[in-house]
């Protein structure tokens, strides 16, 4: 299956929770915000929200800016 992750195509073997997806990407969940199909995923919902085939996911963090 395939998802769109931060604008790029990304292969997944099976649907994953947001928590599992972040772990697989080696991303600290405390420092990011996640959108699933354009809806914000609250942090406490990371274990419950499942990313499946064809879904769009955005993972953002803070970078330098003015």
């Amino acid at each position: 299956m395939e998802i769109t992750l931060n604008g790029e195509r990304f292969e997944l073997e099976q649907p994953l929770s947001v928590t599992a997806l972040l772990a697989r990407l080696d991303i600290d969940p405390r420092r990011v915000a996640v959108e699933h199909n354009q809806d914000i995923v609250k942090r406490h919902r990371f274990p419950d929200v499942v990313v499946g085939d064809g879904d769009t996911v955005e993972i953002v963090n803070f970078v330098g800016g003015g």
Partner: protein, 259 residues
């Protein structure tokens, strides 16, 4: 001279200088500059995590979040919808309701799109955000933003990153008179005297990034800005003398030797 505290939406800040986190040669230099600036609020941008390269250090490792309040921005957004979406993401990443709202209207000048800015302010205020909009040095736009519920107004001194200093001194003065919320001059500062001037005009604070990050010695410039903001604020509180066309002697005109 005692000053009133610098309060935005009920939150008190020690410093009237707000600094950015962009364009530094390294995170280490940024951290030193932040220290030298005395600021206790820093702006950050919200961007996609680099999925393919996870080796890069996190910006937040170099910000003392116990001392520094993090203000996410919506820089780079060209529509109200984009800015609203970015503000919501920033809230999730930072766990605060505060946002420096930018809706850009033009790529070359980075001037704000006031109409979209006011629209986005309306939406975000209703969602409980503390909105600090970056706006034109336009008193009417600032009034509309305040009416929409903005917690402060942040008129530009000059285009972002231009270092031109305050281009329309009179408008800044008028905005100060019009506004009941804090006025923070945001963008355009080039050197310490620009920051001092902003404060002398009655600004409650100054926000800058490039003037410090782009200086030959960012840490020294951060220190200069710290002093400039304090000096300018004191001068505003002290009440400057009126400007006059002709001289007025400082020494007595009587008792001159040989007259």
């Amino acid at each position: 001279m005692t000053d009133t505290p610098f309060v935005i939406a009920g939150r008190t800040f020690k410093s009237r200088l707000i600094v950015g986190t962009g364009k530094y040669s390294s995170h280490a230099v940024m951290a030193q500059a932040h220290e030298a600036s005395g600021a206790d609020m820093v702006t950050v941008a919200v961007r996609r995590v680099n999925i393919s390269d996870r080796s890069r250090e996190s910006l937040l490792d170099y910000i003392d979040t116990k001392r520094m309040f993090i203000l996410p921005n919506t820089a780079g957004c060209y529509t109200a919808d984009e800015a609203i979406r970015t503000a919501r993401l920033g809230r999730e990443a930072g766990l605060s309701e505060w946002v420096k709202l930018e809706v850009i209207g033009d790529e070359r000048t980075l001037f704000p799109d006031n109409e979209a800015l006011i629209e986005a302010t309306n939406v975000l205020v209703k969602e409980g955000f503390i909105v600090l909009p970056y706006t034109n040095d336009d008193p009417i736009a600032c009034r509309k933003l305040e009416d929409a519920g903005a917690a402060a107004v942040m008129p530009l001194g000059a285009p972002i990153g231009s270092g031109l200093g305050i281009q329309n001194v009179n408008n800044i003065r008028i905005i100060r008179e019009f506004s009941k919320v804090p006025m923070i001059v945001d963008a355009g500062v080039g050197t310490a005297s620009d920051a001092a001037l902003a404060m002398e005009l009655g600004a409650d604070g100054v926000l800058m990034n490039t003037a410090i990050a782009g200086a030959d010695h960012p840490v020294a410039m951060a220190e200069a800005m710290c002093h400039a903001v304090i000096a300018g604020r004191l001068a505003w509180l002290a009440g400057r003398i009126p400007k006059k066309m002709y001289a007025s002697a400082s020494s007595p005109v009587e008792g001159m030797v040989g007259r």
